[in-house]
Symmetry: C2
Subunit: 337 residues, 2 copies
């Protein structure tokens, strides 16, 4: 399997991305990565890789691109002037069949706009949606979308999100008929914004022909209950909810740690509680859930958090590999569009 990586755009620069890439390559002998960015910087970072990762250098091919999308660029800027950036070049490489999937930690608006232009949409979908799986009760997960590619989405686009999310739950998690809900401020029919009520109406109209179970409205807390596979919302709401959840998880994990450290006396705490806390911290770490999928495109594109370190980028690569293995776009085009 071949992946194309845009090394520019992460908050920590190319180093974290290249280290995460090396880690993935070492672990899986069947993958090859092409790195898009300034060759000198890539080579410098490759030569600096710590020992167990240094062996990966030969399977990380550099493709020299000097331009990059600035973090604050708009979608319009990317479309007008971003043609020769590392992000656009990486996407064209995927479009031309050089790689099975592309990854970037760069500007989301630019990635959405350039992906749509360079890769094209699967027939029936007008714009990519961004989704990620949120861990919920009982070891299950809930795909939340959109996460910010589309703010002020009309009802017809929210219906697209329902289909795209259901396809994701079906292909990746093997759920036969995913349970899809529409995020709202209450379960009653009179509640919600005009757009959400219109979406509910559209989904109910075609409920019998949908390849998923439409559950109607659900509330914010239901994301974590383990009874919904796909939660549909506008990109503004999804983005805020995801980031609030990540921030809250970090705060609560810190607080749990503090509670144990301050209330169990020194030696006992270090012997008993620390190993449990350490493992718990790893399990809940948002880094493990890094990587959001751009859905509806003809090829696979995964967006990494801009703030991701090497481990976070490594997890985003895992997500891309999973989608390649399940051949998500082909399944989407044949069964779901």
């Amino acid at each position: 399997m071949r992946l194309a990586i845009d090394v520019m755009g992460g908050d920590q620069g190319p180093r974290a991305i290249i280290e995460g890439s090396a880690k993935a390559v070492i672990e899986r002998p069947d993958i090859e990565l092409t790195l898009f960015g300034p060759r000198q910087r890539i080579i410098a970072e490759l030569s600096r890789l710590p020992q167990p990762l240094a062996a990966a250098a030969s399977r990380l091919v550099a493709c020299d691109v000097s331009d990059a999308v600035p973090p604050s660029a708009s979608a319009a800027w990317a479309l007008r002037r971003g043609h020769e950036t590392s992000m656009a070049r990486m996407l064209r490489y995927v479009a031309e069949g050089g790689a099975h999937a592309g990854l970037s930690a760069g500007n989301t608006a630019a990635l959405v706009a350039l992906s749509r232009r360079e890769l094209g949409m699967i027939s029936g979908f007008s714009r990519p949606a961004i989704s990620t799986a949120i861990p919920s009760r009982g070891g299950r997960r809930c795909y939340l979308l959109d996460l910010g590619a589309n703010v002020d989405s009309p009802a017809s686009r929210l219906v697209d999100f329902a289909v795209l999310g259901a396809a994701m739950a079906h292909c990746i998690d093997g759920i036969d008929r995913p349970r899809v809900a529409l995020l709202n401020v209450g379960a009653e029919a009179t509640k919600g914004s005009v757009t959400v009520r219109e979406t509910d109406h559209l989904l109910r109209e075609c409920a019998s022909s949908l390849p998923f179970v439409y559950l109607g409205y659900a509330e914010g807390g239901d994301i974590f209950q383990g009874e919904i596979d796909v939660m549909v919302c506008d990109g503004f709401v999804g983005n805020v909810t995801l980031k609030a959840s990540e921030g809250l998880t970090r705060m609560l994990v810190e607080r749990v740690q503090w509670a144990f450290e301050s209330r169990l006396c020194g030696r006992l705490a270090s012997v008993l509680a620390k190993p449990v806390l350490k493992r718990l911290k790893q399990e809940l770490d948002p880094v493990r859930y890094n990587g959001a999928s751009l859905l509806g495109l003809k090829r696979i594109v995964v967006k990494s958090h801009g703030s991701a370190g090497a481990d976070g980028f490594y997890y985003a690569i895992q997500r891309a590999l999973q989608e390649v293995e399940r051949d998500l776009p082909t399944q989407l085009a044949s069964r779901w569009s």
Copy 2:
């Protein structure tokens, strides 16, 4: 201090509300509560109060009202046909000076609509906003608003939320110049919905004359960072964010408990970890943060979660008492409108 309580409308019926009321009265000899609902039910619940609370019965006065707002009623229904419900009667009692504040666990849309009609708005504000304080890092808190009274809010109303939230942080928490931010999907000026960008423009235009510090855009995770006193958003976004945070907190606390119980062997766990976990669970329990304020009204109204038990309702009463002590509406009218 006198409070008026609508005993109808909570998911658990009048019992939890009356028990929570009794608990508040026992704790504070200086308060008196008037309970609005069917007299026979109120009397039956009062006679069933468990022992330490039974002494409260004499300071809980029943006001007989047989009608109640149905859980699924719309604001329009409440305005047209809810005139003689326990909620409307409770609010009129507050309007006529019978009590310093009113509380209900009933239908939010009805409470907002009826409060506005029965109590009236402070000059300069067109509709009530709902807000609650969310615990953030370092023992601080962040007022989030609106929480669902206003979906599809225009920019001018989001500006009102900023003023109302800042007044709350000033009056209740004693913060001289509260730090106010606008919730968005990113910090860059090009990001966000049309309404949010327009709100940012309006707030920047009048920044020098505002009685608070306007920080610009912030993201979902910033709610918990402890560096923002007031986070402004549309009611749809605020409602989803609050409910998601509550659901996530419950799930994480369960998971922490499970991690310790399954990984520390029996006796050791019960001796060492359980007391810490129990206290932590209490500290993080959303029940403790129950009670959201309806802001912008001429009198104090607090909304309890519909699902609140006796303890939850007790905390909502504490919030109302705090607002009565600080005389929030008078301060709002004189300094902030």
